[in-house]
Every structure is written in structure tokens, then in C-alpha cells.
Amino acid sequence: MSYLARRLLTFPLILLGVSLLVFFSIRLIPGDAITAMLGTEAGLLTPAQRQALAAYFGIDQPVVVQYGRWLTGLLRGDLGVSVTYGRPVLDVILERFPLTLELALLSMLIALAVGVPAGVLAATRKEKASDVGIRVLAMLGQSTPNFVVGLLIIYILSVYFGFIPAMGAFTSLWVDPFANLGQLIFPAITLGFAFAASVTRISRSAMLDVLSDDYIRTARSKGAPGRSVIWHHALPNALIPVVTLSGVEFGYLLGGAVIVEQIFALPGLGRLTLDAIAQRDYALVQGSVLFIAFNFLIVNLLVDLAYAALDPRIRLGAR
């Protein structure tokens, strides 16, 4: 467990690094927040008004002071106020987050449900037609950008079903599960496509590695039937790389799938950040990027816990 403890210790350090990086780098972005916020009307402001507005948002101070303030605010759970929305940053983020979380979960579910069985099947039928077929599909899946998949899905939907995704309010799962699923299923398939391809490839190669291990031979020498050898003896040993990959991909999806949100007109975290950068909404960019990095680290921690659950050598410490 000391490994996990060490992970937890580095956690705040990495977050600090992320916040430093974001805080100072967005201040390198040319143009200022007030001009970006008010557009051409900014030209009508008197210098005094401009000064007052800057003071209101706290961006009149030296950067280091701003950072200190922001950091102390952070410790109280205060991420500042968004210039664009005029509301606390955390509220804005949490409003967008359920969609992103649900989309990420749904994509991962699709990827694992398709990828693991496909990978296992391919590994056990090595060099047979089904293996070759699965490998070709997985290779294609891994080589297709998600906007190509997304646009293809939209093309099919619009030409054959006359359906066009429109920008609208996101329906929560708790309000109307069917409407919710209707909004998310195609984006999730789009994201799940390449994800499933990666899971398939890694499951296959991990299974092939494990199937040549000595303990598999032991299981066979005991007279264990093929199904039991694969699911009971081999798969638990092959899951670690699958968990690693899924964790990383899921972590990134929690950062918002900018392109897919764009194509399917979904108000998720990715678009929020994209817009915030365009708007020079410093507080919002800082807040959302930190939030995304935080999620990523949490997912990494969960992955480590999953390793421990899967492998007693990690759980109990190898000798």
C-alpha cells in the first residue's frame, strides 16, 4: 500500500504543477479579457471604467498576486467567477460535467462490452478467419478519426432517417432517460468505436501473452476444459493492460470530447473549455483545466486500485 500512499502524496504536487502551467500560460494569450468579453463595446469604455471592471474580476493585480489569491480561494473551494457567465466557475463546470461523465461512461461501456470479448475470441482463434476479421476491423477502428465516424453516423441518420442533431438543452438522465439516451447514444458510439478497437487489440495481445504462460499449461494438465482455462485462468491475468488502457482513455474522455461535442452539438466540458479559451475567460479556463486534470488523476488512482484488486502481487506486495 505504500505505493498508493506515495501516489497520493504526489497528487497535490501534480495539481500544483498543472495549475501553475495553466495560470501562467493563459496569461501569455494575446488580447485581454475585457476586450474579449465585451467585443467592440469595449472600445466605448473609459480607462477608469476599464480599470474598475478589471479590479472587479481581480485581473488588475500582478500575475503572482493573482495566482496567490486564486490558490487561497481554491483551498476554500472557490474557483473564482467566470467573466463570460457572470457566475461561479465551479457552478458552470458542474452544470456541464454530468453530460461529459455520462458520455465517457457510456463510451467505455461500449468499448469494453465489444472489445474484451472480441479480443479474447481473436486470441483463442489465432490465425483463423474470425481472428483475421476482428484484427482488420480493429485496425480500421484505430485508424479512423472520430469526426469521420461521427460525420458518417450523422450522414446515415440524415439521409436515411431525416434526423439532424440540433443544439439543445441537455436532458438529464433523471428527467427523461429515453431522451437522454437518444441524445448520447450516437456520440457514445462515435467515441466507443476507436476505443473498442484499442481495447480489442490490447485484449488480444495480452491474452496471447498469458495463454503461453506456464500456469495455463498447469491448468490444462489438471484437465480444465478450454472455457475455464480462458475465462478463469487466463482472462484475470490479461486484464491489467486492458485496465491501464481503459483508464487512460476514460480519463481523457472526462476532459471532454471537444470534436464529438462539436459535431453532435452537445454542451459538454470540452466545448466549455474551448469557448473559455476563445473568450479569454481566465478563471473559467483555469478552473476547468484544473478540474479536468483532477479527474484524470482520480481515474489514475482508481486504475491503481483496480490493479491491486486484480493482482495479489500488487495488493500484498511482491517479495
Partner: protein
Amino acid sequence: MSRLLSVRDLRVGFGRRPEAAPVVKGVSFDLEAGETLAIVGESGSGKSVTALSVNRLVDFGGGRIVAGDMAFTRADGSVLDLRQARGRDLNRIRGREISMIFQEPMTSLNPVHTIGAQIEEAFRLSRGLRGAAAHKAALEALERVRIPDAETRLRYYPHQLSGGMRQRVMIAMALAGNPRLLIADEPTTALDVTVQAQIMALLAELKAQLGMAMIFITHDIGLVAGVADKVLVMQDGVAVEQGALDQVLDAPQHAYTQHLLRAVPHFSGGRAVRDDAPQAGARHAIVAVRDLSVRFPFGRSVFGRSAGAIHAVEGVGFDIVRGETLAIVGESGSGKSTTARAMLGLVDVHRGRIETSDAESRRPVQMVFQDPFASLNPRMTVDSILAEPAIAAGRKQDAELRERMLFLLGKVGLAEDALLRYPHQFSGGQRQRLCIARALMLNPDVVVLDEAVSALDVSVQAKVLDLLVDLQEEFGLAYLFISHDMAVVERIAHRVAVMYAGEIVEIGSARNVLGQPQHSYTKRLIAAVPGIELRRQHYALDSSAVPSLVRERGYEPPEARWRDLGNDHRVRLEDE
């Protein structure tokens, strides 16, 4: 006796065209119920493939039986050709009628399941036991293989057990179905010699109890002497000789069998030691090691303090003398390799001195490592490999250097064209010769040989040993020879130090230490060595374990007390 298995003209191949280059080329043998057949051969002889063909596990390794038949008499008296058997029948035979144990106990158990679950599975598959009945059976099985505290151990995972313990678990599992045939594929090769003796004793005892037949695969003809009824000698996929044990060992017919019996070192209790030791007056130490301790701290906290240390080497001292071989023998974890590495500065020395005097070379100590495949950079050609020590010493790659390389290549018995080749183009024995040549590039006074012949096949091993002796005589080299193999040590050592749990427990001339061991551990070690001459001797069960080397922070061991037996023989006094 009744016929259990009759194998006729077995041919097995691998790959897309298995018949093109078979690995097993027409092997035939018979096995009666309750009988033990030993299949002996070197690596690549096809002995393991033959064994794996019997329970058809060879199919899963990409092999195919291309010809022959294997008539197996089942428990109900029906005879089945195992070559034609279908998958379902084979699953019913495996574990119930034919069981198997393997060479690598470290990797043969599933790391994610407890050993209890794995043994219970064997009982479920072979006898349909479930739940409490399976648990009880597993418990009894562990007790049968003499695992202490079995109830607790059932909840252990494989990585929490030592190699010897794991092999016992494998045996417990293999015997779950009361098989009529046990195939043992080099089951003790990966184990220490005293643990090997324990496992062999256990197998002999269980075999007598259960009356099962056994096929025992090994490269060590001395090992099977105690257990086998019949011996089959394999070379290049062919059974070159087979017959009753005494007949094959005492009157070998085939040249290869004779070679195996003659070329391979057999331990003879100090009677075969070298008698070319330097004269007493001419002895001067090139390297003197005094009170050497190596500790590996662990559990280091954020503040840099460690919770304790593994005392890998503790208070070790010896002299290395020109023209003489000092062997350090011991089992894994005894600290013998750490001592060697400390000599070369590869590990940090906690305390003690390594003094070099009277040396002629600038780097007087050089080393040859155990694994000839890992100690040569696979991406470098032999001439760059041999040039490296010289370049490190600041020399240019000139004609003189090339001369030296060719000279040494000749000395170790390799051709000149070796210079332009890569390590993978050589066999294990040739690679080890390259390593020796490399170690000699700088004209060292002492060569440390860390298990330098252990990874080699027995007949290759004998040739490399001869080479080492020749080089020693020609260049007046001193060797520090680290080994676990008593038979090899007997051949090359002038003096022997026995290490146990990080300390030297006995040191002296090879004849004295190997012939009249005084320390209880030395005695145990020597008694455990298998040998043809010891074949009538019965292994006694002994389950003593090596004490832990893990010590609390600040621990200092008590001072060692020695007894001098005179005539170059010292033994450490033991606690009463």
C-alpha cells in the same frame, strides 16, 4: 505387472510443416504400472516434447504428433490411443489418470488465485469435490506434501511461497486425482540442491504410497539414479539407449551415454579434487577480503531513514592466491553472488576491506557472469565487445589491439571470423568463451566467475571447465569461482568456502571441506548432492528452511567464533 503405456515410433514436429523437421524422431518405450522411467538428455534432445506428447499438452505449444501411437491402459481396463483421443476424453484423462509437474515452480501456479483455490479446483475437476469437501481434501493434500501450517497456507497466493514450497503445491495438485501416471518434467532443476533433495524424497515416498507410475525428465543422470527403474537416453530426438537402470549406468552401450557418464562431473566427496595447488611457500594473496559486509536497506521513509536492512553478506573474509581457485559454494540467497559483485564494486560495501596487492594489472579483478545471453550486448559485434575493456582503459582500436583479440579468441577456442559476428550467432558455450576472452583483455590477475558454467548444458560445461583450468595454468590466474554445484566445484577448486545465510561457515582446502565436512550445513549440502554412486541411498525428508536475513535497523550480528582444525581447514562454531 501390467502394461500402462506403450509408445511406438513417436514423431513430433512444430510449425506449419511439422513433418519437415521433427523434434522427436521415432521414440518408442513401454511403461508398466507403478514403474519409473527416467528420460535423460541435454537441451534440445526432445525429452520434454516426448513427455508433453503423452498427455497431449504439446498440442497447445504449437506441436503436432505426426506419427506413432501411444496405447494407454485406462483405469477401467480399456486401451486408448492417446494420439487419436478427442479433446473431451483428454480432459478427462488429464489430472485424473495422467498428471504433470513442471520445471518452473515460480511460474507454474496462477498468480491471481490462492493456492487453496487452485488445489480445490484440481479436486473438483478430478473427483467432483466441491465446497467443504474440496477444502478438506486440499488441506489433506498440503499436509501430505509436508507443508507446515497448511490451513493458513491455503489462503496464500503463489508469490508468498518459496520455490520449494510452490513445487510441493504443484505436487499436491498433481496428485489430487490419484493419477496412475505422473510426468515430472525437470521438477527440481530450478531449485536449490537441498530443496531438490527434499522434493526427490517426497516424490519417492508418495510414489511408494500411491503405487503410481512416473516418467521423470532430467538432464542430470545422477539425479535419476535414486528413483528410476528404467532409463531412456535421448539425443537429437532419438532414443539412443534404453534399459534397466543398473544396466544403463554400469554398462552403457551407446557412445553418447558413455560420454554423458564420463564427461559430466559427478560429485565424489572430495576424491576428485585438483592436486596442482601452488606450493605453500609460493602462496601470496593478490586480493585479501576482510570482514566484508553488504546490506541492502529497505522500507526507506520520506526522510531517508530505513526500517531495516537485508544483511546479504556479513563479516566475510578470505584470500585469493595467484594460480589458485577459491570456490564459494552456497545456495540461492546465501550471499555468494553479492560477495562476487562487491569484489568488482557493483554493490556498495557496508563495511570491510577488499585489498589488492602485488597485482600486475591496472584492473586486477575481472568478472564472468552467469548468463552468457545477458552479459553480451546483443547489438554489438564481437570486435567491439572485446575492444570495450581496452577502450575503457584508454587504449586505441589499433592493430595491436586486434592482435590481442585474435590471440585471446584462439586461446578460448574460437575462430578469427568471430570478430565480425553478433552474439546471437553463437551458442551458449561459445558466448561464455567470448565472455572469458573479454575478461582476459586487460591481463587481470583475478577472474571472478559467478556461476559461469551453470547455464550451460552438461557436456558443454565440462569443456568450459577444462578451458578454465588450461587458462589458469598458462596465465597464472587466480579464480574466485562462485557456484551452487558441488560436482563442478570439486573439479575446479583448490580451496572451498561454504556460505550460508550471508556468512562463511566453513573454509579450507577442497579435499578437507568436501571430504570431511564439519559444519552441519556443509554436511547437509553435501548429503543432498545426487550421484550415481549414491543411488542406493534413500533420501531422508528434511524440511529445514534458511533463516531470514532481514534485520531491524541498527542490528549487529554477534562476533563469529571459529575452530581451526589445522591443515588449512576452519569451521565456524555453531550455536548449541
